[in-house]
Amino acid sequence: MRARIAWLALVAVPGVAILAGLVFVLLPAFGYFPALGGTSLSLQPWRDLLAYPGLGSAARATLISALVAMPIALGLALLALAWIAPLGRARTGLPLLAAKFLSWLLATPHAAFALGLAFLIAPSGWLVRIAARVLPIETPPDLLVPHDPYGLSLAAGLVLKEMPFLFFAALTALNQLDAPRMMAIGASLGYQPGLAWFKLIAPRLYALIRLPVYAALAYSLSAVDMALVLGPAAPPTLALLAVDLTHDPDLARRFPAAALALAHLALTLMALGIWRACELFVARALRTLLADGVRSPTLIWRWSAQAGRALAGLGIVFGALAILALPLWSLAATWRFPKALPDCCALAAWQRALPDLWLPFRHSLSIALFVTLLALIGAIAWLQLERFVTHRTRLKGRTIAALPLIVSDVAFLMGVQILLLGLGLVGGWLPTALSHTLFVFPYVLLALADPWARLDPRYERSALCLGASPLRVLVSVRLPLLLPALVFAAALGCAVSLSLYLPTILMGGGRITTLATEAIALSSGGDRRIVGVYGTTLALVIWAGFFAAYWIARRAARPALT
């Protein structure tokens, strides 16, 4: 009983935080917030908001970029999985190489990746420079990329960043599906392997990765950092517009800002609704397709697979160049327009940036380490207590933990910000760190949950029978056996925290600058070398974390954990 109450208390933390955030965005959105001078309910914030120029096109660009990006990202992720690891384990050779590339892409922080991609596709960017080697291009072409008004550059960035996320989510889920035997049955019934995979594995896989898919969709709608670098400028996306309003020194502007944040929540729910409707439609169409007995790919299947492969190849080239762009810039002495490669190499940019780099570096690292520790302790307690509740309750709890990834973070974070304002508190290190924890925790929890459940329960049982207390069993049996999973979850937690942009902006009170926020802030300044230094440092810290985790996990790997 006590254990169940303790578990409920843990579940309540993210639940209450989100609820509080939503309440305190709802009230000011309808004009009520005494601390800011709103004493009665009114529709005035909405009138102010609707008077805002470009609101409609902001909503349109937000929705288009997300709804274009997500189906492509999902399709490519499944296609890549069918090729790289149809049975759950990466094949050797080229597929294995592709899997490694995808893990690099996943580990590259959003901000750094967006900056690299922006340089790649800009009129004076790398692609044009490479083309200039064969074509007579002397001045940058007059193109509105990356900040095109429909948000298509943003969509491209979202595809490339969400695709590896969905790929690894699906790869992890694949282990639950008994794929080898299902595929053997499919083959014995005469089905060509690729088609068998899409008829037998993909539909069930999708059901298992629905939560990551929704999270990716919600993220696409609220990715402020990527929208700043790749999205439309005037007007920007809805999320960016809301954040801009909170920077207004006139506190009365918080009311329309709250209304806008609420509108963003509505847009998120609408997008999820559209997605759900498409899910049902596709499921219906699939039912006939599954039972039609067609055993080898028809022309349409083959064409779509070819198109997907071509797109994936293009994505690999773009992704690799975007990752390489920032380190290259940071080392460039000069890199004048039509040249495809910089005059290498100079540490001048690093020397210039280093003094200013220290503070955001310290903030980034201290927040990431604190948040990860907090999230790890929380996740261990959560999983330890979870065994006292039923399977259904468990799933509900995990959904609540994942809510910060699905509900509009713009909406509830702005609510929390307004609440702090009302309490007379200002943002800073601790509010920033605590808000990071909301986003880091679900990743750490989900990364630990699977290895946690797979550990042979007899280890603990035999330790208990030897007279060890439950706490001692946890500390000296379970946790050491799970060490590889723990260090990986820690690296993941650090990576998520280091990449976060929006919570730092909204909760930092203007005093917390991290590598991610500085890299984005500097990108409007124009010195690509300095931006390169910040983006590279950010990516290096995250990669170093994963390398350390990989190294520790390999050293600690025991046969019991296979």
């Binding site: 008994d178 035997r181 053997a184 499919g186 083959a187 019934l189 089905y191 039972a291």
Partner: protein, 215 residues
Amino acid sequence: MLELRDAAISHQGQRLFAPVSCRIQPGRPVTIMGPSGAGKSSLLAWLTGVLPPGLLGEGDVLLDGHSILALPAHRRRLGILFQDDLLFPHMSVGENLAFGLPAGADRATRQRKVEEALARVELAGFAHRDPLTLSGGERARVALLRVLLSEPKALLLDEPFSKLDLTLRDRFRSLVFQSATHLPVLLVSHDPQDSIAAGGEVVQLRAIHQPGRIS
């Protein structure tokens, strides 16, 4: 006719069992017997073309006089029944069967074929059921129908009776052998009852003694 010629599986250069040969005519099932771990399932995996990496097959397999080893798994036309029914959980009973039916024909015809097949095994009206709601015996019958509807040229049985309880086992066993009289049937099992029910030739897999392995 299905024919095995000096078939053997090896792992790291070590054969798992002495090579076996047999000719299987329609209506005269052949049983391959052997203790668990002798390599029975690996042999079937090799026949169906899904041998896991690390294992190597040798010898030849002929179906109606042609070697099938060069064919990919899905062109070999060998139907297989496993110990578990492996009905696809994301499809209804009817869809599972329609998945086995060859392509072509309009939806109504396909549906009628599925209904007729279900009626033959006393499962009339089950087409819309979720496989999860079926009993073990019912699921086994659906799995059998699914493989028969796919019109295989031979049927492989990988201990498909061992998970059913005793009374069900006998009934299902005779159903399988009765409905596959037109096909060469190869059964692998460690249960002597199976070979008696199959009634045909019995091939014993003799494990090759491996140093360091407890036999």
